[in-house]
Symmetry: none
Subunit: 202 residues, 4 copies
DNA sequence: ACTGACGGGACAACCCGTTTCT
DNA sequence: AGAAACGGGTTGTCCCGTCAGT
């Protein structure tokens, strides 16, 4: 927070501060001065690294949000032997130990998607790229599960994967609207039940 | 269209124009001048009916969006003998004959929820009120279905209802992010399958 | 406050409400809607009695403030046998039993004079007319005092009268700036001493 | 005049222009665009130096008006051997060589006091601070005069000082209301006579 | 590489006055 | 005589981006 001399550190400080502000207020309402204040930097620093506000927003999507989703939801699935169990664990972890702050602000990717998809095509494309990766990650895990015999083979993998991502975002969005962890749990219960229907009969 | 001296007509014109702008740009980015231009009214009219922009937004949620959700999703269920079929029909109708515009802008309730829930507590409460009604509507329909023997009795009705709403919003949000009707169809397929798992074995 | 049917009552209600708002906020910052709210009337009533806001303000000066000054400061002097004693009593009464509200808002004539004299010539003329009457009232009282032998004859009556009015307004203004009754008393003490220097040696 | 990149110069230009506008129209009616036009600056400059209009007004009181009063009325008294003569000279100078503009707009401190004291507590406090300094300056000068034997010792110094300030402001206010230099002279005559009554008998 | 003063446009809020109708 | 919907202009605030300097 004090004095990031390294130019790359500066860039990362900007991205992180921008992410925090966007998370709280959305992209359009995010204030550059507030971002700079949080990063401890001045206008000049920002416009050295990014041509304008939109470019900063794009970088937040491409780098910060992308890696957040990858780390939290995609990577864990890649090495999982039993994808359904891994998904179940992820959802359960989310619905149990989610911080108040996360409930309040929801999934930043979803927030940005709903705000910006119809406002700025480039935003939409970048957000969709992450959703696409996410769907693919789950889809491939499900396929591996089919090969290993844990997942039913009479399902449409792409459809199920897309539905899981959509349901997850819908659940987080509903919890955000209700600002309630208990609503999150109740709603997530449905998704857990759905996952069980994908399990191959042993 | 020129001079609707009827104050109630004016109010409705303002609400409708505000709804259209909010739908396209979100609440914070919605421009009052654009709203007034679309409504064919001047500043004075707006200030006469609403003390400020937020009050206009609240009224849009309470009246326009509320009745939209009630008419499209809640009322059809109230008279339905077979709730699962009614839900299925609604989703299929949505995933088939949805206009490009609807795909592009998504569900306004969801858009507003993601943008405003963490920004303004009053917005969140009003949005959540609609979600709550929606969950209740589906929940009661499922209960009636249980009584009539169409719905399995070993499910948690509240949980299923909440999940259905969340999944629906998630699906519409995903389609908006992808700006693609085919993604909508693929994703909705998962929800239709989930609904079938609720059906009582005959 | 309830329903003044008589048109003259309506006019007076408007003037009184306008006086109250002007007293609190000044003329330019006085809000017509607030005035109407306080009077329990609508726009139409105001524009039936006055062509515009300025005309209302002029009427407040000519009628409400004029009669206030006349009643409080001029009439008492007209019948007084000993003008210096009457002035002294008036000042002492003011510096003792002045309400907090009067200290806070000061003399409305002075407030209006300082705000509007350089902004609107018609306002200045009307305010000055009252000051002129006030000076004349004191001047004539001093002259009668000279004839009766209570007031020194080697003073310039017009100058003394003008100074007394100016000092009074200055004192009330200073008390308003300090929002303090004790400052009012201390400052008024000087004026009382000045008045004694006008007394004819017995 | 074109581009004073020196931030301190810009600040002073803003304050001076604001002072001129406030002097003419009062604080509430002062137009920021007019101030910026007079200062040859754009909105951004103002917002950079002051968070809002009120802060600009406060700075005008604290810096411009404060130093104006100090230089014109307080400093001259500090070095004066005979305070009564110094006060007399100041008043005579004022009542003789006052410009038409000064007569028209009066003492800005008084104008602001009457307009803002009851509207904004912070304004009142700042204005009162100057009045307090002014009273103290005259009070201390009178005390020194007492020690040096030029001023009567049987007077209440604080009371006399407060009265002198109040009377001065009252006189300038009356002249403003009358928009007349001759009224100023006639009224000031009374104050000069009062000052003579403070002189120690030789 | 970074600072910070400043330009300049856009928008919400505010409010006076008009007009129609009762 | 008065109520009330509405027109329309003004203004303070906000904020993105630029540029000269270091």
């Amino acid at each position: 927070m004090s004095s990031p001399r390294n130019p790359d550190q500066t860039r990362r400080a900007l991205l992180q501060a921008a992410y925090n502000e966007i998370r709280k207020h959305g992209f359009q309402a995010a204030n550059l001065d507030a971002i700079l204040g949080e990063a401890g930097l001045a206008k000049g620093a920002l416009y050295h690294h990014f041509p304008n506000k939109k470019a900063l927003g794009y970088a937040v999507v491409d780098e910060v949000i992308m890696s957040e989703i990858v780390e939290k939801w995609i990577t864990p699935l890649e090495n999982a032997e039993r994808p359904l169990d891994s998904l179940r664990d992820g959802i359960q972890r989310a619905s149990e130990c989610l911080s108040d702050e996360y409930i309040r602000y929801g999934c930043t990717l979803n927030t940005l998607a709903q705000e910006m998809a119809s406002v700025d095509e480039e935003f939409r494309v970048r957000v969709n790229r992450i959703y696409s990766l996410w769907r693919d990650g789950i889809g491939q895990a499900l396929k591996r599960g089919q090969v290993l015999g844990h997942v039913r083979t009479d399902i449409n993998v792409e459809s199920s994967a897309a539905f899981i991502v959509a349901a997850l975002e819908g659940i987080l969005g509903m919890a955000k609207a209700a600002n309630s962890l208990s609503i999150l749990k109740i709603t997530a219960e449905g998704l857990l039940q759905y996952l069980e229907t994908l399990r191959a009969p042993s």
